[in-house]
């Protein structure tokens, strides 16, 4: 077997261990080289994955898969990690002597996500998932002096462990009916045309509920906004973008690779979940006055749009999920990068912190506006193309009402996204000093801006990439 294809996972894990070691050796303050090491290492792995994208292999009797689906998500996680590392420099100074470990946890979480996307087996999926979430429990509670951060960490742990338990019980019932944990074997065992046994249906229901917790779909979203608001802002960015994408990768693997025969059983449930999530996420976001919390509800709504693609379960919709997940990385990290810089500058994340940003830092205000409009799905930005694929898939699958709900709520979302723009451009400016933007953060902003514009104007290449990578039932 070409074990070289496992190099990205091994490299990211080793990088995390090295960073941990360097942090131990350079006491009391971690050496600045730690960040350079993490960033350059991730960039190298990203290049490696891009260069070996076409090489595929199935490992260990199907337990681990390196296919284009896994590689697509590896690209996504690595880009997100890289952008978050670039933009978090000034903010991360708050972690003081614990900085090196912070980078290490981010890297371990990334490794966990890669294992999730590559898993071809319930056990591998579960352990990858836990590697990611346990890292995030620690990362969410990392601001030790801030009570809200510890609260976010504890709430995330309770919610995460509960959803894992629910998901595991579902997995055990699926294992009981299929007598295997490998996805291909499960699909073969439960593909019989007879109606699915009740235990399998119960297992699927519990799995769906567990995943709904993980992607923060309504009504399983309780505490998700608390976690997003309390966690350190770069962690929130990574949580909203990469952890959500990883949960979707695992969800797609389980439902499309292991349970395609039960499509009629789960499709309507997912469609309903998508609709409720889109409506509730957008409506509650309308009432928010804190930008961090607003982005939290917005990311709940975005998970709803992604669920639309899964409920369509056709090539158009599933390509849309991958396409949208990728563009969502750039739009959302861009918005969170601006938020992080504003928070470092003003000390707050409320809407009033953004007052007058248009004059103080025109570049930040422009990136924020473009990213938010992309999230709202305004043409010609990337979000428009992504929503087009998702809703077209839903229409093709006969879920016209779902596409309608999505369109309507996208229009509603323009209102709250523009409320941020309003504060930036016509809000009363109390401060006038320009915001300092360090050059790594500037690079991150430019990348997010360029990608959001480029994917929107010329969606062809990413769309083609998503098409070859999409997993089909």
């Amino acid at each position: 077997m070409p074990y070289g294809l496992l190099a990205p996972e091994i490299a990211v894990t080793s990088l995390g261990l090295v960073v941990l070691g360097v942090g131990l050796l350079s006491r009391p303050r971690p050496h600045p080289a730690v960040r350079v090491l993490a960033v350059s290492g991730l960039a190298l792995v990203l290049c490696w994955v891009a260069l070996t994208f076409t090489r595929q292999a199935s490992f260990f009797g199907g337990v681990y898969q390196v296919d284009s689906f896994a590689s697509f998500f590896r690209l996504l996680f690595l880009s997100a990690a890289l952008l978050v590392l670039l933009m978090s420099g000034r903010y991360a100074a708050r972690f003081g002597p614990r900085l090196a470990e912070w980078y290490a946890f981010l890297l371990f979480a990334t490794a966990g996500m890669m294992v999730m996307a590559g898993s071809g087996d319930l056990i591998a999926l579960y352990v990858g998932l836990e590697l990611m979430t346990v890292s995030f429990y620690v990362l969410s509670g990392y601001l030790l002096a801030d009570a809200r951060s510890a609260e976010a960490g504890l709430k995330y742990l309770v919610l995460g462990a509960l959803s894992s338990a629910v998901m595991l019980f579902g997995m055990s019932l699926v294992f009981a009916t299929a007598r295997s944990t490998v996805f291909t074997a499960i699909a073969a065992a439960v593909a019989a045309p007879a109606p699915s046994p009740p235990a399998l249906l119960a297992g699927i229901a519990l799995l769906a509920a567990g995943f709904a917790f993980k992607v923060a779909a309504v009504p399983f979203h309780m505490w998700a906004p608390d976690i997003y608001q309390g966690a350190p802002t770069p962690v929130t960015a990574y949580l909203a973008v990469a952890s959500k994408a990883a949960a979707f990768a695992a969800l797609l693997r389980v439902f499309l690779a292991a349970l395609p025969g039960q499509l009629p059983d789960w499709q309507p449930v997912v469609a309903l979940l998508a609709a409720v999530t889109i409506v509730a996420g957008n409506l509650i976001a309308l009432a928010q006055t804190d930008v961090k919390r607003l982005l939290a509800y917005s990311s709940i709504a975005q998970a709803g749009y992604l669920l639309v693609g899964l409920s369509a379960a056709n090539p158009y919709g599933l390509r849309g999920v991958l396409f949208y997940a990728m563009l969502y990385v750039f739009a959302n990290v861009g918005a969170f990068a601006v938020l992080t810089l504003v928070e470092v500058d003003t000390g707050g994340t409320g809407l009033d912190s953004f007052n007058g940003l248009g004059q103080r830092a025109p570049m930040l205000a422009m990136v924020m506006t473009v990213c938010l409009l992309s999230l709202a799905g305004i043409p010609p930005l990337a979000g428009f193309a992504g929503k087009f694929y998702l809703f077209a898939g839903a229409v093709q699958a006969g879920y016209l009402w779902l596409a309608f709900v999505g369109l309507l709520m996208s229009m509603v979302s323009v209102y709250y996204y523009l409320s941020v723009a309003k504060a930036m451009y016509i809000g009363p400016a109390e401060r006038t000093a320009p915001v300092t933007v360090p050059s790594p953060a500037r690079l991150c902003l430019w990348v997010c801006l360029a990608a959001t514009l480029a994917i929107g104007i010329y969606p062809g290449p990413l769309s083609a990439l998503a098409q070859v990578s999409a997993l089909l039932p």
Partner: protein, 170 residues
Amino acid sequence: MTLTLHDATFALLALLTLGAALGVVLARNIVHSAFLLVLTFLGVAGLFLTLDAGFLGLVQVLVYGGAISVLVVFAVMLLMSEQAGQTNPPGASRFTRWAGGVGAVALALALGAAVCTTAWEPGSGPRPEAVAELARLMLGDYVVPFEAAAVLLLLAVVGAIILAKGEDGR
């Protein structure tokens, strides 16, 4: 004759486990909860033994009955300074208590019905020696999750130390 012995053992262990588990969630003193939790863990270990899973039973006693329980009891002792009788109160709102109770019963009935109405066909095949088979799987086909679990344990240790030590800890 051995069959009935197995049945009786199962019934006793099931009663012990479920009774102790109920005690964990109903007790108003967190110390009682903690000790009943240990009893539940031991009951589950006993159930593993009735399933011919001796190795797993031992792991259960060592990790759950030993390590996790000690950790929990330690945290309880460290954090409880109030009157012991009120350390583990039920949720403040009557609504969540009732909703939780009704929801849990409904969940148990729904899952129980699903289990009972499914026709389970006993599997067949030679039973391999469990420990050898586990070792073969862990270091063979399941080496990726095995390594991931190793990293997970490391990061949990580092993370727990960082979080518990606090801001000014040196």
